[in-house]
Symmetry: C2
Subunit: 428 residues, 2 copies
């Protein structure tokens, strides 16, 4: 599936603007009612295809897929653990079953009846049990913007930044699926000019436009994942909103990094788009010649991805979200393979289902900034909304929506969206 055949069609209707063409086939986990068990599905058009039903029908097994039991669990972890031969086999089987010229599923009305659900009728849940969540800081434009605001133009990038894919450990327990409300956190901060810290709801609430990848088989403690083998250990990607409380962050983060300013919620999109589906959109990333990177970080091939990203905001007075920023994953200085190779170079073990975030993805343009902090330049340049409202940071009731989509030769491979509404802080 490294090439794109625009003539490929499914017997399932896919609208031209749908993110979920037969070229995509992202995996997710859904429930048909609040108390029913979680099931693995694939999105196609407006439908979810239940893979446990297909496995039970003997249509998703054999070879690296074994007895198909990886499709009968409540998470994608077991499929992630199986590795690329199984991922490719599953994708081939699913493309074949969904093609418009393949009768097996198309002409089996009873099977179609049990296997397909409208996406609007199911509840999406987290696609994986996330053992560890790591967040990188891999956009040069983002790190530079933040650096200029904190230290001025001449010392914007830290000395380590061009040598290391800087990252830190985030909180796995508070990774939530799109649609989950996010409560404004209480915490300590120290207002500019104040002598003493204050306690209360964060006043500087922000989003961060990110993407993240899920780890596949992973490595044993004490071993590494060499960069040439990294593609065998990256299952797929999601959109990530790494909610941030900037005032809490500024007060707490020296010297051990962000903690309560980030760990109250991280939202992800429910559909995991596989690296196989993204393969036609692989491209060169920024040059890394000044300085050269250490050999353990040298990618043997192009590992950036051309994924157009958009951030939309809907205030309580709006009836629909409106765009406030765009960006693209290809801007990232450090690519996903470099991130995973760096993460494991010291023998740290990565496990199936671990999530690695990119860090905020900003681009060169003024409207290609992936956070309110950058868009409003720390509050100095408020964003004007169509309602006449202004924003420097987020207000209670604001809904943040992020989308991402690849497109080539009229074929779309998209991520759907990650959405979350900021709820008022708990009164204390």
């Amino acid at each position: 599936m490294t090439t794109l055949d625009p003539s490929l069609r499914s017997f399932i209707d896919v609208a031209p603007d749908s993110h979920f063409s037969i070229h995509n086939l992202p995996y997710g986990v859904f429930k048909t009612s609040a108390n029913s068990p979680a099931r693995i599905g694939v999105a196609v058009g407006d439908e979810v295809l239940d893979l446990a039903v297909l496995a039970d029908a003997g249509l998703l097994d054999g070879g690296p897929l074994g007895d198909g039991s990886v499709f009968r669990g409540p998470t994608l972890n077991a499929l992630m653990a199986l590795g690329r031969p199984a991922w490719t086999a599953a994708r081939s089987a699913l493309v074949k079953l969904l093609r418009d010229d393949e009768p097996t599923l198309r002409d089996n009305a009873a099977l179609r009846d049990t296997a397909f659900h409208k996406q609007t009728t199911v509840e999406m849940v987290l696609p994986a049990a996330i053992g560890d969540y790591t967040d990188f800081y891999s956009s040069r434009e983002h790190a530079t913007n933040i650096g200029i605001m904190l230290r001025g133009k001449d010392n914007a990038l830290q000395p380590n930044w061009l040598h290391i894919p800087v990252g830190y450990h985030g909180r796995a327990s508070s990774v939530v699926v799109s649609g989950t409300g996010v409560r404004r956190p209480n915490g300590q901060s120290k207002p500019a000019g104040a002598d003493q810290p204050v306690f209360g709801p964060s006043r500087l609430m922000d989003f961060e436009l990110e993407m993240g990848f899920f780890v596949g088989p992973g490595n044993r403690l004490g071993e590494t994942i060499p960069i040439a083998e990294a593609p065998e250990h990256i299952f797929g990607m999601v959109l990530v909103n790494d909610w941030s409380a900037r005032d809490i962050q500024a007060w707490e983060y020296v010297p051990l990094g962000p903690f309560l300013s980030k760990n109250f919620a991280t939202s992800i999109s429910p559909w995991v788009v596989t690296m196989d589906a993204l393969e036609p959109f692989r491209c060169a990333g920024p040059a890394q010649t000044d300085p050269e990177v250490f050999s353990y970080l040298e990618s043997p091939d192009d590992r950036a991805y051309d994924i157009h990203l958009e951030v939309l905001l809907q205030s309580e007075r709006m009836t629909a979200p409106e765009p406030i920023a765009t960006s693209n994953l290809r801007y990232m200085y450090w690519n996903v393979c470099q991130q995973l190779a760096h993460h494991t170079i010291n023998g740290c073990n990565a496990r199936p289902g671990d999530l690695c975030g990119s860090g905020t993805i900003s681009g060169p343009g003024k409207h290609e900034r992936g956070s309110m902090m950058e868009l409003s330049w720390r509050g100095a340049e408020p964003i004007r909304l169509s309602t006449g409202e202004e924003r420097t940071f987020l207000a209670d009731g604001d809904t943040v929506v992020m989308t991402g989509c690849c497109e080539r030769d009229g074929v779309k491979v998209g991520f759907g969206e990650v959405r979350g509404t900021l709820l008022p802080a708990i009164a204390r």
Copy 2:
């Protein structure tokens, strides 16, 4: 069990210097052979008591313990999730079963045969599935020592340190049980005076003497654990060695904190000593009057614990480890309840089995320093060993052993040990 009855005895022989008297009864998870299933046990003297066997015999159920199934799993997570009423019920039942004047178990030779194993014949594994591992930085003496080395005496403590129990997220995947070998990590560092970073095995390998607590029931996302309720959510404690690569740390940690310098391994002792067992050793911690702490951090009672700690080192030339430092958990400025209340004040959810480390526990004395970095004052004052060897940081083959024990009225409640040997780096 808030008082101590020194006359309480078990029918199991407990040597006077044993950490595992009937007053302790720590929980752990063991295997009787490499391929056998993991089982929950309690240590008493030199024995492990298999709790699944007791549960199957109908001796550990009823009331908050339900059908006793929490003792039949491969981890302590289910018992941790049940909460304090179940913990107290289990402790009462176990104390009663093990007393020298109680015949139920004592006089049932067949049951004793299947229920007891010699500790020397079993393999201990991780006591819990750790969802998230957080590491605090709560010893004022440690933070001050490090601060003096980095910034001089007048600015030793960061401005936030006396207001916030500073912490950061660590890596859950690489928490290992005592006895696991630890490989010296490869990584980037920037030697003093160098223009450019270098890549290779860490040259400044360190241990950190810590303790950690396991979370009980925990809280839902968006809610908090008020400090007065924190004791209901802390199951027990272990010894922690938070291995650190100081040269990697110095180069990577600005601005997002330690990452590869810490996440290659964190060792814990296998036996979880419950807060009920530690209750007689609860005491006042350092005064927190300058500054006063925010009300959400005000402990309603004394929540320090008088636990004597010791670090021993055994080089390859030694036949036994020799002491190089002592300390005490009571020195910690921020106590475990303050840590948990702070961790959740923003709505971050803690889950059963989450592990929270204390940070390095140093004391006021020169030999009460919990890391090589402090003991050798960054290499300026090498430690002299009995073999004539010197150490500034750790050498390959060095074994680090940490122990911890409470004692009162001749009664010992101890943690056993956490032990690990530093293995040479993988050649690259």
